[in-house]
């Protein structure tokens, strides 16, 4: 059984935000616009956050791209009253938009602030509809949405592998952000398969996870020479 995970090399990330835009394009994330931005309601499943330390001129900083951590012990799934979010056998924390009642309890329970709520009806102007990815549904108003590790790609890849009667290979399934990273900072794969790069990188001495002390066991690892 696969355990999908991600490794993000912060020493390589230069904050270009290609992953954010690739994710928007892949997952039909609606444009919030200036109004939503001023109200802090922009939805972005992948967020490049900057950590700045020190004072001018002795200042340093790094970019931390943050998708959903897909915790092995996700605090969000436990609190959902309607099973709209759960962790599946391969470790992907999903969100079923048709089930969600929009109570936002999961968003509050998430220590990483990576669950997003559709405060308004997601706006996709009619002329942009042909550009929507048909593999991902357009969310209705009033539900939570989040990074799914591009699980629609997994569905297609697995189907393709079965059509070709072969096992699923490492390159068959990757996320849009990992695909798009120009510096190759984001690597995606099966953490339990020693032949996958993520498995090796997640054991790198530079590896750490966000808020490790909370015991959520995230499956997104970060690499950094800095502590």
């Amino acid at each position: 059984m696969a355990r999908w995970g991600m490794v993000i090399d912060l020493d390589k990330c230069n904050g270009c935000q290609a992953c954010e835009v690739a994710c928007r394009s892949e997952n039909n994330i609606a444009v919030g616009g200036p109004q939503a931005a001023s109200e802090h309601r922009t939805i972005s499943w992948m967020q490049v956050r900057a950590e700045v330390e020190g004072e001018w001129p002795d200042i340093r900083s790094r970019f931390v791209p943050q998708p959903c951590m897909h915790c092995d012990r996700p605090p969000c799934t436990l609190v959902c009253p309607v099973q709209a979010t759960s962790i599946d056998r391969e470790g992907i924390v999903n969100q079923i938009y048709a089930r969600c009642i929009g109570c936002r309890y999961c968003a509050n329970a998430c220590p990483y602030t990576v669950k997003f709520f559709n405060w308004h009806k997601p706006d996709h102007p009619a002329s942009t509809e042909p550009g929507l990815n048909p593999d991902v549904s357009v969310r209705p108003v009033g539900v939570i949405e989040k990074c799914t590790f591009c699980s629609h790609r997994l569905q297609k890849a697995r189907e393709m592998a079965r059509v070709e009667t072969r096992p699923l290979r490492e390159q068959d399934f990757t996320t849009a952000c990992a695909d798009s990273c120009p510096t190759g900072a984001i690597v995606f794969g099966n953490l339990d398969d020693p032949t996958h790069r993520v498995a090796e990188l997640s054991r790198d001495p530079r590896a750490f996870r966000l808020q490790e002390g909370l015991g959520t066991e995230p499956k997104v690892y970060y690499l950094s020479r800095r502590d």
Binding site: K12, Q17, S25, C181
Partner: protein, 777 residues
């Protein structure tokens, strides 16, 4: 039970209310789930093309579902971008599907200043332009036709240039990204092109404010190079900058420096290198002129750069001027001097300033002194492209050269008589000039303004005719890699989707106009279409006997080795097959160029490289600025010029953001949602100030302010950032234009405070010498 009148009425009322509620229930967005009305086979295909959203011209691979583009990825075969793509390239879809795209050509019906347009047929529109061009051309005199061009890449630039030749006009202004490096190379090395920094081959990159990760010539080239290993270890990148930019965050070391003192720092570094003897004295003696004192042909003694460095580059003085501690300065100089393959890089951040050319010369001298010219990991010159046939190939004497046309922002409208016809191609002067009213008035004076904008932008509103261009995803073109990339790359831009609306490629419009005008013009326009022209160029590459269609990286290395031994393997037997391979893979490139043959070091007659060459000295001494010993710039007090620190206590530094550079961004909401990675700004123009400045000026993050200079003002939102230098206001440039209809940013044009100042020495804009004050609104 009998139905009484009462029970009937009550029941009917209940039913009526229920019916109403039931009907109304669909009005709420919470109604039943959306069901797709249709089915589609959802067939997935991929098409390779080239991104035209900035001069980097990265390879793209468009994912199509049933022929509709749904995602843009990088083309993994592209030799420069190697499958990478910046966020802007990915957002190109939004340009294609933008709800406010013009649906077809429009003609003005209302009076000037009004926005009243009505649709017009293509033929009628072209007839009108052709007849205006014919009647405007007067025998003997130059045709009073003017072009304003925002994108001169490839065949479209050549078509404009060629058409100008046909029309006999030289009035062309180009809104491009010149940073003065080509000028500098011409003076120092006799090479008429911008340098190609071999970042991937360098073990130390010392960047003087160059926005390598943001708005450099090819940010992807730089991004790949930063993580490349050189001689078994990763290269060291040092960013010297006036603010903690994204490039600075990504560099291994960030050196903070006061604005406008890059040249002084270069001088200081040279001083330490000379004192420590870390330069190649033998090489300098053989190849470099102007280093030691010398006597001119007329017998006048000249001070050499070495003497100047020793006199003016003392570490304590430089440290005091630049704000870089002596220890950092010394360590940096030792690292750079000791690096085997170090290279000093700069861009507009240095050049677009009064005195910028002298700074650039001082930085360039670092490369010269350490023998980095024409060496791997140093300063190369892009290998030559095989000659490409095209509309501009036979240049008439005195014909226009787009490469030397000045920047629109500073010199338009030109003094003198107004043209009779003005073409706006990828240009929006009303939004991009410091003063929109001047631009509007200038446009109003022209009898026929033709805009090729696919959007109803500020300048298109002032035009008489709008002949909307295709987006780059719908048309044919070709695109060369920028000069900053060492190897020549010819990318094919091809329609990945049939035009969505009734637009027409501007290249085809130009050919159509020339045909309509008849005579020599019609003879010049011998191609059926731009596609025909690109095809012809592709076929000529098949005959060049070198290079290859894009191939994967293993094959690239293999080809390089094969070609190195003098072999060339064409793709396919016939030129058409070769062309087809180029189209399918995305373009043509030549992996093997011999850079170390000396041609990229100097092409001057004496084969030497000049430090502070005579022409530069002459230009500097004529500039009227205070200079030390004839040409070394002295840090002028800007305060004195702008009324002193009392009125304008802060210095303004406009900077470029990857997604904002080169315009178009306001049309791509995906990018506006993620504008400032460092401070989370979105959808608005912001100013960055340090906590210290915020305290002294009484400002807080999120406040709206007006930034005022002696020349003008703009409005922005304050972002207090620890990465901003005390006393400096940094502002992103490029969010000034807007098109109504989908997500309108709260943008401002910082140029309105900068004005149209030009550095008299380089002719480049002076953006970094503006003093401002910040007023809360």
């Amino acid at each position: 039970m009998a139905i009484t009148r009462r029970s009937f009425l009550v029941g009917a009322a209940g039913a009526g209310i229920g019916f109403g509620l039931g009907a109304l229930s669909h009005q709420f967005p919470l109604a039943s789930p959306h069901v797709g009305p249709d089915w589609a086979p959802n067939d997935e295909t991929f098409v390779a093309s080239t991104c035209l959203l900035c001069p980097a011209h990265c390879g793209i691979r468009v994912r199509l579902i049933d022929g509709r583009p749904v995602r843009i990825d990088g083309n993994p075969l592209h030799p420069v971008s190697q499958g990478g793509l910046c966020p802007k390239g990915r957002a190109g879809l939004q340009l294609l599907y933008h709800p406010s795209r013009l649906k077809g050509p429009l003609v003005r019906v209302g009076p000037p200043g009004s926005d009243e347009f009505k649709p017009i047929g293509w033929n009628a529109a072209l007839d009108r332009v052709a007849s205006a061009l014919s009647s405007a051309s007067q025998p003997g005199g130059a045709t009073p036709v003017e072009w304003m061009v925002g994108d001169v890449s490839g065949v479209c630039g050549d078509l404009v240039a060629g058409f100008c030749g046909v029309l006999g006009t030289t009035r062309v202004s180009v809104d491009d990204y010149r940073d003065g490096s080509a000028d500098l190379l011409g003076m120092c090395q006799g090479i008429a092109t911008a340098p190609a920094f071999d970042l991937a081959g360098a073990d130390m990159v010392l960047s003087f404010g160059a926005a390598l990760s943001e708005a450099w010539w090819s940010p992807l080239h730089a991004a790949r190079a930063r993580d490349a290993e050189v001689a078994g270890r990763s290269a060291r990148w040092v960013q010297v900058d006036t603010r903690l930019s994204r490039t600075a965050v990504g560099a291994h070391q960030f050196v903070a420096i006061r604005p406008g003192t890059f040249g002084a720092l270069a001088l200081g570094l040279t001083y330490v290198i000379v004192k420590e003897g870390l330069y190649d004295a033998d090489l300098v003696a053989r190849q470099v002129a102007g280093w030691e004192d010398w006597t001119g042909a007329d017998g006048t003694p000249h001070v050499g750069y070495r003497t100047l460095v020793l006199r003016h580059g003392r570490s304590d003085e430089v440290s005091a001027r630049t704000g870089v501690p002596v220890a950092t300065l010394t360590a940096l100089a030792k690292q750079f001097g000791g690096a085997r393959r170090g290279v000093a890089v700069w861009d507009q951040g240095v050049a677009w300033r009064s005195g910028g050319m002298a700074d650039a010369l001082a930085i360039h001298a670092l490369n010269t002194l350490t023998g980095r010219l024409g060496r791997r990991g140093g300063l190369l010159v892009q290998g030559p492209m095989p000659g490409l046939p095209g509309p501009a190939e036979q240049k008439a004497p005195g014909a226009v050269d787009l490469a030397s046309a000045p920047l629109t922002a500073t010199s338009w409208p030109a003094a003198g008589s107004d043209p009779k016809v003005l073409f706006l191609y990828h240009a929006n002067p009303v939004a991009s000039l410091p003063d929109p009213d001047t631009a509007r008035q200038a446009l109003a004076r022209v009898p026929l303004v033709v805009s090729f904008s696919p959007f109803f932008d500020e300048s298109a509103r002032c035009a008489h005719l709008i002949l909307p261009d295709h987006t780059y995803l719908e048309r044919w073109q070709d695109a060369l890699a920028p000069a900053a990339v060492p190897s020549p790359v010819w990318g094919v831009v091809r329609p990945v989707v049939k035009p969505l609306v009734n637009t027409r490629a501007t290249g085809d419009v130009i050919l159509g106009l020339a045909t309509r005008m008849g005579g020599s013009a019609a003879a010049w326009a011998r191609w059926k279409s731009v596609e025909d022209l690109v095809h012809e160029r592709g076929l000529s590459l098949a005959g060049a006997g070198r290079g290859s269609a894009f191939v994967d990286r293993f094959r690239q290395r293999e080809l390089g080795e094969v070609e190195g031994r003098g072999w060339w393997l064409p793709h396919g037997q016939k030129p058409e097959e070769f062309w087809q391979t180029i189209v399918d893979s995305g373009g043509w490139f030549d992996p093997l160029i011999d850079y170390e043959d000396g041609a990229s070091r100097s092409q001057l007659p004496d084969g030497r490289v000049w430090m502070f060459p005579a022409e530069a000295r002459a230009r500097l001494s004529k500039s009227g600025r205070a200079l030390a010993e004839g040409f070394l710039p002295i840090d002028e007090s800007l305060e004195a010029r702008d009324g002193g620190p009392r009125d304008f206590p802060l210095q303004l530094i406009p900077f470029r953001v990857m997604t904002l550079a080169s315009g178009g961004t306001p049309l791509m909401p995906w990018l506006l949602e993620h504008l400032g990675a460092l401070n989370g700004s979105a959808w608005e123009t912001w100013i960055e100030i340090g906590p210290e400045t915020a305290r002294s000026e009484g400002l807080q993050s999120g406040q709206r302010v007006r930034v005022e200079s002696s020349r003008g003002r703009f409005e922005a939102t304050v972002r207090v950032s620890p990465g901003a230098q005390p006393g400096v206001v940094s502002v992103p440039y490029g969010l000034h234009s807007r098109v109504e209809g989908w997500g309108e940013p709260n943008g401002a044009n910082p140029l309105s405070a900068v004005g149209r100042a030009v550095d008299p020495v380089s002719g480049l804009p002076d953006w970094q010498s503006t003093r401002v004050r910040v007023v809360r609104i």
